[in-house]
């Protein structure tokens, strides 16, 4: 029975690949036609850094292709964090037509009425999106967003330094054997999540108690941590400076191209999964062009270029099933055994403040303040003494002048 199902599935897969392949030919004709009235207009795209095939490393330059086909000029800028993007969008200085935030940030943008509903009649290639990436929690009716990339967090380790028996769980990052070789996230949400997964706490818990427990766990970890990092993780893992780090699976693939001793696993306690989706902010000035751009990103050819370049999992059926896709069935980004995963949900500002307060105190833990007190105290004392000495000297001198 199982075999029959498998055969059936492969037939369906092959068929659908065939269908999408035949649809491919007229892909850009549609775009050319639909964009004709928009020729010469401008499209402001705001995306993560290094998050689109841009002509480097032999990849196609996706934006240039779009400009060539449509005659629409793309003004492309990038950000480093969801929060950066949010701050920029909220401050309202510039208007963007396209942004690509992660799930929880999309939930916040929808809640605060900062993104608008999409007109899917302009996005026919939306049908390429796999069903499992439709109607996700942050956009349950699929009105505001189109998935762009899917990623998961896991643990990267150096096989020459880490005992194979120790891997498999988040507790590797708490293993005192590797003191000084462990890298932790330098942002509160991800760092707390590592502790929360290990302790079996819901990462979206709003109970202060839960966060206190995760906090104590991070305090316990601090002496073992070499550094709290963001993108420095690349150089530190590639050079062998550190042995253990928690990071995104797509980035692990990039690191392992440089340092082949690196390996990766999804911790058994569960991990974070995220979906970065394309949205159109309310302030957009060129909405139709933005929708055409979204459609363009979904076409099999362009989606493949991006998937190859970015190394994240693609939510696009035509990519995942494409035989030419070099990462097809890659055991890291498309694991056969689905790890336990959880999305981050959006927190309200009180929760965010509570989290950042704990995070700031974590940074103070474990280092003695005594030397600081003594230092500041003695400098202050010296300054006071100096002033007194100068005052006395002046008084003496004045007295001397008077006598003369």
């Amino acid at each position: 029975m199982k075999r029959i199902v498998a055969v059936l599935i492969s037939v369906i897969v092959a068929l659908s690949a065939f269908i999408s392949a035949s649809a491919e030919d007229d892909d850009f004709d549609y775009l050319r036609e639909a964009s004709a009235p928009l020729k010469g207009t401008q499209l402001n795209v705001y995306n993560w850094g290094e998050y689109i095939a841009d002509g480097k490393d032999g990849a196609a330059d996706v934006n240039a292709i779009f400009e060539e086909i449509t005659g629409i000029k793309i003004n492309y800028t990038t950000y480093d964090t969801n929060e950066d993007m949010y701050t920029k969008l909220k401050s309202g200085g510039t208007s963007y037509d396209i942004v690509i935030p992660s799930d929880y940030m999309i939930a916040r943008l929808i809640e605060e009425d900062m993104v608008q509903k999409l007109d899917f009649s302009h996005i026919p290639h939306y049908s390429n999106i796999l069903d499992e990436y439709k109607n996700l929690y942050f956009d349950p009716d699929n009105e505001y967003s189109v998935p762009y990339n899917v990623g998961m967090i896991g643990v990267i380790y150096d096989t020459t330094k880490v005992d194979p028996e120790d891997v498999g769980s988040w507790d590797l990052m708490w293993n005192s054997k590797y003191k000084g070789s462990i890298l932790q996230y330098n942002n509160p949400r991800d760092a707390f999540a590592t502790a929360q997964f290990l302790l079996g706490i819901d990462v979206n818990s709003t109970s202060t108690d839960d966060w206190d427990r995760a906090y104590s766990k991070l305090v316990e970890q601090k002496p073992l941590v070499q550094a709290y990092v963001a993108d420095e993780v690349f150089s530190k893992m590639e050079s062998g400076e550190a042995a253990i780090a928690s990071y995104y699976v797509g980035d692990f693939l990039l690191m392992s191209e440089v340092n082949e001793n690196l390996d990766f696993y999804f911790p058994k306690e569960g991990t974070n999964v995220f979906v970065d989706s394309v949205c159109i902010p309310n302030s957009a000035k060129n909405k139709t062009a933005a929708e055409l751009y979204i459609d363009f990103l979904l076409t099999s050819e362009i989606a493949l270029e991006n998937a190859e370049y970015i190394c994240y999992a693609s939510p696009n059926r035509t990519v995942v099933e494409n035989e030419d896709y070099s990462l097809k069935g890659n055991e890291y980004i498309y694991p056969t055994e689905e790890p336990i995963t959880e999305y981050y949900h959006n927190f309200n500002s009180d929760m965010n403040n509570m989290m950042s307060d704990r995070w700031n105190s974590l940074k103070l833990e474990g280092s003695s303040n005594l030397s600081t007190y003594i230092g500041i105290g003695s400098v202050a004392a010296l300054a006071v003494i100096w002033f007194i000495v100068v005052k006395i000297r002046k008084a003496k001198r004045n007295k001397y002048y008077e006598q003369v």
């Binding site: 965010n352 105190s361 940074k363």
Partner: protein, 276 residues
């Protein structure tokens, strides 16, 4: 030229516009954010939060690091500037250019190169291991942070001290010798007082950025012991809490102003006010 002639107004107009847009407006915004909450209502909660144990300690530590860096810079820069100012004018120009040279590179790049030097698998440690001494833990320690700050901010100390020394009236030193002062006394009673203005402005230019830097402590300190600049950065960028961030910036500004006032007292006590 009359003080308020049309010409002088015209000449100063770009500066005034510049100052208004890029100095006054941001300051007003910092103050506004510091005293409002998320809904834009007036509050002093943000300022009150400064009293918490965490922030008091981060402030003190940042000030302490700033003081250490300033003192180290002064100790290195003063003799150096003195030596340069006594060289032939042509050599002086070359030396000053050599000091400026690293400043032509981005601060980020210089910090990264220090990382490459002192990291555990870096150049210095590889050398030490080859020689047989063994690796020394340098990066991600307070030592590395202070080293990075001293390296990055040293030119800001050397240049003002050097320029104060070149402006010094040589005849005063000669007079002191003529009147029978020995070398030590000339140095302590003539040269140091005359270069005091340079020391004060140099100290300010080193102290202020080293108290508020976040990049150096992030990269070289591994973010393990947060300084105040890093906390402010994370409040703005990661936590989207510009209100608390602004409050901290405001308090930091006041603290730095107090420190500068104290430092200025060192400068003006004999030769009149020195404005920086």
């Amino acid at each position: 030229m009359k003080k308020n002639s049309l010409l002088s107004k015209l000449i100063s107009a770009p500066h005034i516009v510049w100052a208004a847009i890029f100095i006054v407006v941001p300051l007003v915004m910092v103050v506004y954010y510091a005293f409002t909450d998320r809904n834009g209502d007036f509050t002093v909660e943000n300022i009150k939060a400064m009293g918490y144990y965490t922030y008091v300690n981060v402030f003190l530590r940042s000030l302490w690091y700033g003081i250490i860096v300033t003192v180290i810079c002064l100790v290195i820069a003063y003799p150096f500037a003195y030596v340069i100012s006594n060289l032939a004018p042509k050599t002086q120009g070359t030396m000053v250019m050599l000091i400026m040279l690293p400043m032509w590179m981005s601060l980020l790049l210089r910090t990264y190169s220090i990382m490459a030097l002192i990291s555990d698998t870096g150049i210095i440690n590889s050398f030490l291991e080859a020689v047989g001494i063994g690796r020394i833990k340098m990066i991600n320690t307070p030592f590395a942070v202070i080293l990075g700050m001293v390296y990055d901010f040293l030119p800001f100390m050397i240049l003002p001290v050097y320029s104060a020394m070149t402006k010094m009236d040589v005849s005063l030193i000669e007079t002191a010798y003529d009147l029978g002062a020995n070398k030590r006394n000339v140095f302590l009673k003539v040269i140091i007082p005359l270069s005091r203005s340079g020391i004060v402005s140099g100290a300010t230019m080193v102290f202020v950025p080293s108290v508020s830097t976040f990049f150096i402590s992030q990269r070289l300190g591994g973010s393990k012991t947060a300084l105040i600049g890093e906390i402010i950065e994370s409040l703005f960028v990661k936590n989207n809490n510009p209100h608390l961030g602004s409050a901290i910036s405001l308090v930091l500004m006041v603290l730095i102003l107090i420190c500068m006032f104290v430092m200025n007292r060192f400068g003006d006590e004999e030769e009149g006010a020195v404005m920086i």
